[in-house]
């Protein structure tokens, strides 16, 4: 600071810059850049610079991301939905049964799968908002129930293209067109279709949260339930719908999971809810409700997606991956905390 006037100017610019960095979006972006930077340094003999690596990182994060889109709305209301992983498995099983075994066309399978997911969400939502059961407990019950139902419907084994006949032999059928379509890539192989589905889900959730009255209601409910009830917010209705929304998105994620695995696995999606919650929280949406948003969650999805990819291309042993992921989540959330907290 020898040159006074220039220093002044620099300080002013710095404050604008630091304000940007310290905003929730800036903090989430910083966490993402940190992970990308680690990737640039540990690039696994240049694998990180290949476009296919980034395409695959986004594809792998997409199923979690779709869950996180629904989860954001529930978390904004100060709730939580632990059932999404199980609902994903249930829908994957139903979807594979409809598409592979019954050979139903995609335009029936997709809406039907979303309805199944939505119904699960509706049950959780009703339990939470009408029966006043705590979200943790209500969705925990749904998590166990949906997993059981998935196992029951599939008979405990995967619903695959090997269809068991009455005499115990297997007949091999083709992978349905719907599954091939979802697991394909567009734009000269540069983007996976599941990534586009994630972007679409993120956009729809963003519009719902920030441009619709219902979205405002969700923030109000999460911020102060009693105050919003007194000011005429339809609390029960708004909250139930958030869980339905989350269930529908878990359904969409289930379709994507089944399409990518080419089968419906009743054991799929174990602990996916935790990854989805981590994505939302790393983005900067507060678990205590009323604060956050879809843009932040999208950054959180990228952060975790890239973290997994960087660890994977470097073939980091499992034990180290778990420890590093734990440490990095803490660092990311710590950078994310706003000054008020």
């Amino acid at each position: 600071m020898i040159d006074q006037p220039r220093g002044d100017l620099a300080t002013k610019q710095q404050t604008t810059a630091s304000r940007l960095i310290l905003s929730p979006g800036g903090r989430a972006a910083t966490a993402l850049l940190l992970v990308v930077f680690v990737g640039l340094v540990f690039n696994a003999d240049g694998a990180f610079f290949k476009s296919a690596t980034h395409r695959d990182a986004l594809r792998q994060a997409s199923v979690y991301g779709i869950l996180a889109c629904g989860m954001t709305l529930v978390i904004v209301t100060a709730g939580i939905d632990l059932a999404v992983g199980s609902v994903l498995a249930l829908v994957a099983v139903c979807c594979a049964t409809m598409a592979i075994h019954w050979n139903w066309p995609g335009w029936i399978v997709v809406p039907a799968s979303m309805v199944i997911g939505g119904l699960c969400g509706a049950v959780s939502g009703t339990l939470v908002s009408r029966q006043k059961i705590q979200p943790f407990i209500a969705t925990l019950a749904m998590m166990v129930f949906a997993r059981g139902l998935a196992k029951y419907l599939s008979g405990g084994s995967k619903v695959s293209t090997a269809v068991k006949q009455a005499d115990g032999t297997f007949e091999y059928v083709d992978v349905p067109y719907l599954f091939r379509l979802i697991d394909s890539r567009v734009l000269a192989d540069s983007v996976s279709v599941v990534t586009l589905i994630f972007f679409a889900c993120a956009t729809i959730s963003w519009i719902a949260l920030s441009h619709f009255r219902w979205g405002r209601f969700l923030y109000a409910v999460g911020g102060n339930e009693e105050a919003s009830r007194l000011s005429g917010v339809p609390v029960t209705w708004a909250r139930t719908l958030a869980y339905v929304w989350c269930g529908v998105f878990a359904g969409i994620a289930g379709i994507c999971q089944a399409a990518q695995e080419q089968q419906g696995d009743p054991e799929a999606g174990v602990a996916y809810e935790l990854i989805a919650i981590a994505m939302v929280v790393i983005g900067g949406t507060s678990l205590s409700g009323g604060r956050g948003g879809m843009m932040l969650t999208t950054l959180g999805v990228f952060t975790i997606g890239y973290l997994e990819k960087v660890l994977s291309i470097n073939a980091v042993p499992e034990a180290w991956r778990l420890m590093l992921t734990g440490v990095i989540i803490v660092i990311a959330v710590q950078t994310q905390r706003s000054r008020r907290a």
Binding site: D56, V123, Y152, E261, S312
Partner: protein, 323 residues
């Protein structure tokens, strides 16, 4: 409240409809066969499975059921411990209290289940231990396959197929689990003395989506991959899907283990895998041995099951025995 009730009833209706559409045979592995008719001498066998969440164990129960169904005087009661050691321990106690004639157990882990098994033996009930063992010698008979031997057979097959030279990806089940370690150690022994180089290895936790993720990374990192050795068939299938998405599935061979009819064997028939090695469930052998014991014969303490390899050339003939 009314809307809530409506939703619940719609949900219930849906469940009912879905339930009716499933094949009633598909979940019969979990239920016991009704007792044989008449007053003939009936043997009741109690079967405690550690975790029916794994397809291979579903197959084991199905094999036991199929073998038992062909014998009139045997009834098998199945229990699933859902991967919980203490639950499995109470299964043994329940079987003893119910006075079954013989117990088959596929234990989750050795140490905590050794004593319950020994106590059952002390009451005079013979116990057959399947797949994973218990400690000591307080059981009638152990039936299991040898993962090291299977891993070694896979390694030797790979050595011959690649003519002793090439770049290999190893997708490990779980490096902290015994089958994962054995399938790895056997493989290393099998390729010993060749110029085969394992360029990338990762844990895929026995799961197909994880295998696909790890394979994506391997593909991004290496332009030349000759073969993928996965510790189970879903892992090999996940790797195949990743390579196919990159348009490189024709450049490499995929090797899996387990050879379940609806998984590994199906993949070999469809031409996705170059070979899969059977990890036998021992279901048939367990019932055969049980009948010998119940009829008063003495059986060997350790029965090691053989494995079979299935390639596109021999899969329709039922595979070839692994030496």
């Amino acid at each position: 409240m009314r809307t809530g009730l409506k939703l619940v009833s719609v949900m219930a209706l849906m469940l009912f409809v879905c339930g009716c559409r499933t094949d009633p045979d598909s979940n019969s592995a979990g239920t016991a066969k009704p007792p044989a008719q008449g007053d003939q001498a009936n043997w009741t066998i109690g079967m405690s499975q550690c975790n029916l969440g794994e397809p291979w164990r579903v197959q084991m129960n199905a094999d036991i059921k199929a073998a038992a169904d062909s014998i009139d005087e045997v009834e098998v009661v199945f229990k699933d411990a859902q991967n919980d050691t203490l639950k499995q321990r109470s299964h043994i106690e329940e079987f003893v209290n119910a006075g079954v004639d013989l117990i088959i157990i596929s234990p989750k882990e050795a140490q905590p289940l050794t004593e319950p098994v020994a106590k059952a033996m002390a009451t005079g009930i013979p116990v057959i231990v399947l797949d994973r063992s218990v400690l000591g010698d307080q059981f009638t008979c152990f039936i299991g396959a040898d993962n090291k031997k299977i891993g070694k057979a896979a390694g030797e097959w790979i050595k011959a197929e690649l003519k002793g030279k090439g770049k290999v990806i190893e997708l490990r089940g779980l490096s902290t689990s015994t089958p994962g370690q054995d399938r790895h150690d056997g493989f290393v022994a099998g390729i010993a003395g060749s110029d085969i180089e394992v360029v990338f290895e990762a844990d895929m936790k026995w799961l197909e989506p994880e295998a696909r993720k790890e394979m994506d990374s391997a593909l991004a990192r290496f332009d030349n991959i000759d073969l993928v050795y996965a510790h189970n068939d879903p892992g090999a299938h996940g790797a195949y899907l990743a390579a196919k998405a990159a348009g490189r599935q024709k450049d490499m061979i995929f090797v899996g283990i387990d050879a379940l009819p609806q998984e590994g064997i199906a993949y070999v028939k469809q031409g996705l895998l170059g070979v899969t090695f059977q990890y036998p469930t021992g279901g048939q052998e367990a019932i055969d041995t049980a009948m010998q014991i119940l009829n008063g014969a003495t059986v060997e303490k350790q029965i090691v099951l053989g494995s079979r390899s299935f390639t596109p050339d021999n899969v329709d003939q039922g595979g070839a025995a692994v030496k």
